[in-house]
């Protein structure tokens, strides 16, 4: 699929994302170091304490991320390259948002029903399929999963009120 649309403007530049990522790592590093100090990062009589190793891990991460941050801020000051374009981002969101809804739904109605709704939604919204094509796929895939996991492998998956009603 070729994209020659006008909405190929950048949502965010590479430089911005580089800075965001470096800051993310730096924050994680600080958290790691702080918690390691809480546990104790020095030497106990019987060897290094629990926080010793993670402290230095955090330290290396902090130095590395600050270096990346510095490079991103100074060296790439003129870099205007795009991280992701508007229409690309839209496509990614098209997958990401329904997926997140699906994951949340799993917690409430169980994975089988959630999967059925998710597949059906996706096929309808993105693929624009008619109901008669959607129905078999959206029902058969979760059904196959059900048979495979609940009955064959005996590996329980999250279930919701529907399955409870049916006695599972």
């Amino acid at each position: 699929m070729e994209h020659e649309t006008q909405s190929s403007e950048p949502v965010v530049t590479n430089r911005t994302m580089e800075i965001v990522a470096a800051l993310f790592f730096a924050t994680v590093a600080v958290i790691v170091m702080a918690d390691s100090l809480r546990v104790g990062a020095g030497w106990a009589p019987d060897g290094p304490r629990a926080g010793y190793f993670p402290f230095y891990v955090g330290l290396v991460m902090l130095v590395s991320s600050l270096s990346t941050l510095g490079i991103a801020v100074f060296r790439r000051a003129g870099d205007k390259s795009t991280f992701v374009e508007r229409d690309q981002f839209a496509l990614v969101m098209q997958v990401f948002v329904p997926s997140m809804v699906f994951v949340v739904a799993v917690g409430f109605i169980g994975i089988y029903v959630a999967a059925m709704l998710f597949i059906a939604f996706f096929m309808h919204w993105v693929g624009k399929y008619p109901l008669r094509t959607i129905l078999p796929v959206a029902v058969l895939v979760p059904a196959a999963l059900f048979v495979a996991f609940e009955i064959w492998f005996l590996v329980p998956l999250p279930k919701g009120p529907l399955e409870a009603m049916l006695g599972y």
Binding site: M1, D35, T68, P98, I119, V126, P142, V155
Partner: protein, 509 residues
């Protein structure tokens, strides 16, 4: 030779018909995984790993390694037919494989790819058969300091040999270590970075991270390019196969060179991806038809495929003998072994002979079976990709979610998977390498305990790492690797200055 005797014993393990069934199931699943985007080698093995908990470790590892094989083969199918590498190591196969398909020679390209893969993997398995016991015996002399040194070397070589900024490699790696440290410290029992959360008490499981980073992340990335898979049709008939086989011996040098490159890159933690590129590059330079590479030269398919499969297979060698995985998928397999209570390393060969040799024997047969399966089912798999993305994408995501859940029966893990998916997407775009992250996550606890045991022995003295030539040599090599980017930069600048001064010294005529 002792190795041969053990190998024959290993074949005996395979005589169990259930194991043969598992093998074929594994290969088929593996090819399917290799063909579908978002379900890569590491990811697919990670998803299917929990399903094997109910099997005996021997059967389980046979099935998992056959899935690994299948994925190695499967990646080539999409590369040739759709110009979409199913696996990162199939990228180099697209360079000449897809042009061949475009010229109507898809069947030849696929046959060449599969046969080259078979050859590369075969060389690597023979290597494993004979080298593994030697290395295992050698590694029995390893103490905790030596083990830590080898692990250091592994991680430092990512920094030194990687193509990304060393700072990014370090960040990714340290992130993996930090994630590995979350939870209950095994030595002191203290809670690290759990922040009072019951969910975090379990720590971050590498399987969830792998499924999220490589699976969901991959799907998000693929979405950027749009939703169409338009591919060439593939007809493989026996005639095509035979004709291609008649042509292949011409490229025996390329194949051998590719296998050597692959074996080397698999054992040192380079992995199948750099191996395939290196082999392609070498073949292009040394071949008679080098300039025609990129237009559909069969040699351009032979080179990367032998290397990638040799590397993918030989990555299992350090994993089995030293406990150091040579690739992310090997890392997942290593994690699996740990879950079953099998400690990879030299003791594995002593205490679990039946398991290890059963595995190695299954590699031989798996390789052959894989070749047969894949040659006969290509049209089937190719047609699967014609299923529109809007149907396949949600199914893949559902499968990933199932995979993530079955690890610990924890809903939280599915949410974690999505988080890792976003991370995977961002990291890949910003060129933060994922392999060191996964390796650090898998090896983090082991590396840390090796370090602490070494420190206990030496009573806090870091000099233990130079206490004997073996460990001293490895540690020094590791440090060289770590600082290699700095060294290389320095050497290059000196080179440039010398060139400038010689040019200035030549008097103008």
């Amino acid at each position: 030779m002792e190795a041969l005797a053990s190998l024959i014993q290993g074949f005996g393990v395979l005589a169990d018909p259930m194991n043969i069934v598992y093998m074929f199931v594994g290969i088929t699943l593996g090819v399917l995984i290799g063909v579908l985007p978002g379900l890569g080698g590491a990811n697919g093995v990670a998803i299917l790993l929990p399903l094997t908990f109910s099997m005996s470790p021997t059967s389980a590892i046979i099935m998992l390694s056959c899935i690994y094989w299948g994925a190695l083969f499967g990646g080539a199918i999409t590369s040739v037919l759709f110009n979409i590498p199913g696996e990162p190591w199939s990228v180099a196969t697209t360079f000449d494989g897809h042009p061949m398909a475009q010229k109507g020679r898809a069947g030849e390209a696929l046959t060449a790819a599969f046969t080259s893969s078979f050859f590369g993997a075969f060389v690597a398995v023979v290597l494993i058969t004979f080298l593994a016991p030697l290395i295992a015996r050698f590694a029995l002399r390893f103490g905790p300091a030596e083990f830590f040194a080898v692990q250091m070397l592994t991680f430092c070589s990512f920094v030194g040999m990687g193509s990304e900024s060393p700072f990014k490699v370090l960040c990714a790696m340290m992130f993996g270590f930090a994630l590995a440290a979350v939870g209950i410290d095994t030595v002191t029992g203290e809670l690290r970075m759990t922040f009072g959360s019951v969910e975090l008490l379990r720590g971050f499981d590498f399987l969830i991270a792998v499924i999220g980073l490589f699976g969901i992340g991959e799907i998000l990335l693929t979405m950027e390019e749009g939703l169409a898979f338009r591919g060439k049709s593939a007809k493989i008939s026996a005639t095509v196969v035979w004709n291609t086989w008649k042509q292949l011996p011409r490229y025996w040098i390329t194949a051998i060179r590719g296998s050597i490159v692959g074996c080397w890159m698999g054992i040192t933690p380079g992995g199948a991806t750099p191996a395939s590129f290196m082999s392609y590059g070498l073949a292009k330079r040394f071949s008679r038809d080098g300039q025609k590479f990129g237009t559909g030269q069969m040699e351009g398919v032979v080179a990367p495929e032998t290397a990638a499969h040799a590397a993918g297979t030989s990555a299992l060698l350090p994993m089995l003998t030293l406990g150091i995985p040579g690739s992310p998928t090997a890392a997942v397999l290593l994690g699996g072994l740990l879950i079953w209570g099998l400690q990879p390393g030299p003791l594995l060969f002593v205490e679990q002979k039946e398991f290890v040799w059963g595995l190695i024997a299954s590699m031989y047969i798996g390789n052959i079976a894989g070749l047969i399966v894949v040659l006969t089912t290509v049209p089937l798999f190719a047609s699967i990709l014609r299923i529109p993305f809007s149907i396949i994408a949600p199914i893949i995501i559902v499968v990933c979610a199932v995979g993530a859940y079955t690890v610990h029966n924890a809903f939280f893990d599915i949410v974690m998977m999505m988080f890792f998916g976003v991370l995977g997407y961002v990291f890949k775009k910003l060129h933060y390498p994922l392999a060191p992250l996964v390796l650090a996550l898998v090896l983090g606890d082991m590396a840390e305990s090796s370090f602490r045991q070494a420190m206990l022995v030496s009573q806090g003295d870091l000099a233990i790492f130079w206490s004997n030539p073996l460990v001293g040599g490895i540690i020094s090599l590791a440090l060289v690797m770590l600082f290699w980017p700095v060294l290389a930069l320095f050497l290059r600048k000196r080179q440039a200055r010398r060139v400038e001064s010689t040019e200035a010294a030549i008097p103008a005529k």
